[in-house]
Amino acid sequence: MAFLDIVHVQKSFGTNVAVEDFTLAVEQGEFVSFLGPSGCGKTTTLRMVAGFEKPTSGRIVIDGVDVTDMPPNRRNIGMVFQSYALFPNMTVADNIGFGLRIARRPAHEIRARVEELLRIIHMQEFGRRYPYQLSGGQQQRVALARALAIQPKLLLLDEPLSALDAKIRASLRQEIRDIQRQLGITTIYVTHDQEEAMALSDRIVVMSRGKIEQIGTPFEVYNFPATRFVASFVGTLNQIEATVVDAAIGLLAVEGQQFRIARPLPQYRAGDTVNIALRPELIALDGQFNSAMNRLSGTVEDVTFLGSIVRVRLRLAANRLSMDIFNNPHLRPPQPGETITVHFAPEACLAPGDDTPRQANAQPLSASTAEAA
């Protein structure tokens, strides 16, 4: 039995199904992100866990207790909002201590706890300030402290960094992770920023249009995407439009050059056009000739020197491939207009169709939920 169980939860607003058959088991102390574009249902699901929306069907169980029908103020959860939502009429200290005051804790205990939290968020001098006197980043730290003050069972964060500028976002992101690790609190984090999700999470739930596309660790989700959506949403992805030469052995051709992918394409016939996807870091400049690797030649369109990385953009018929190579002072990078050859493994290619055999190491969707039940 996991710490948080979301079981077959569905939420409809009239005829609009916002969340469909959502099932997830979260262990104690885990940091899970809900990742997806706007409108994918991630915030709605979070709000159902918090209790601000009621599932149309399904159950939510926190620490063994079925909370599906429980109002939010009895669930003992901590929530951090995108807009901070600090109470403007209270000081920072009063904001942080609010939950404890509601719980009727003695005054000295509240004072001690508030000081402890101010220390954790590095804002010891700010106790008497009012929210309107704080910057966005400071307000969000106070909001975090306020949520943690009541020692909630779950910490829920709804796009907490979206309203902040890039620099603050980066430092606050790390701070959130450090505090979470330090306190060991089970956390659900909603974001549309895949970099954020990957940097922070133990596991990511990728969602699209109300459905779960994949659940996995950042490594799994990036390297073994279950669907084309996951592949393109998480990290950058190259696309090659190729013609099928022999569907049975996965032989394809682009601009007269042939290459293989690691599996057959049963639903295609010779002559069909198929879209192959490829991660940029899996493409390398041709050095050694290795017959197992695919080789393609194209014209260099653009070379951007970024310091440790050199980003090369390659044109291949109508396709554009992006590849990153490490900077090497002894090796001159390719020049625009040059023709170069690149190689990549057949296994690195992603073909359309949701389940690729390359998922040998990852847990497919159905397996993880079966384990948790």
């Binding site: 601000f52 929530m79 939502a85 509601i102």
Partner: protein, 298 residues
Amino acid sequence: MAPLTQTKTNQPTLTRRSFSWTWVGVAPFFLFVAAFLIWPTLSIIGQSFLDQERRLTLQNILELGRPFIVSSYVYSVQLSAVTAIGGGLLGGLLAYAITIGGLPRPLRDAVLSFSGVASNFAGVPLAFAFIATLGQLGVVTQWLRSIGISLYPAFSLYSFWGLCIVYIYFQIPLMVLIMAPAFEGMRREWREAAESLGANGWQYWRYVGLPILLPSILGTTVLLFGNAFGAHATAFQLTGGGSQGNVVTILIGAQISSDALANPGLGNALALGMIVIMGVSIGLYTWLQRLSARWLRS
């Protein structure tokens, strides 16, 4: 915003000329306000400290202590306070009902539109409307009589409570117009944050909701007080303008037509008293609104 002169490098002559033109541009406003508002008002205030021989005196102010004047002020204050608190309460509840209370949107728009009209409908026509409703031959009076309840002579539209009922007709809409946006400015996340921290509805209102709204509510109630205190036409129409047992505004008005007090200095003092009270109430209102705006700035 850089002044225009700094950017006009190719028109130096216009630069110099336009500087003096600047003050010409706002001169009409200041002249107008000076002639029709500042000078007369200051003059009256100043003259309230002068006696018939134009010597400095506090006698006029002291004369405000005359019983019938004091009772007039008391009457005005009571009327204004009752209608401010009553109008504030009922207006606040109505504003709450159409915003946070969750009534359908068309209803909210209709109430706000109507409030815009009703707050401008005061004065003589409003008095007529209530005479037709609750006057001795009024429609509601007759209807109540037909079911056995006889309003008169116990109740009179021309008494204190009658005036209250009429005044509230323009007090409530003013409260609604000012408080509806304030209620709508209450963010949903505050409520949700409070609930996630364990608060129930009542606790939310007690610790978060009402404190946030309190400056607005208080400030607007004070504004309502000033609004009623300065009202003249409605009272005049209902009470006939007699200066006995009436509001201060009627008393002042009577000075112009008949100089009933035979002491011009006293009339000035009355006006001064009125300006002071209105000034304090507008000042309080402005201060409380600023406080509220500052909190809600983030």
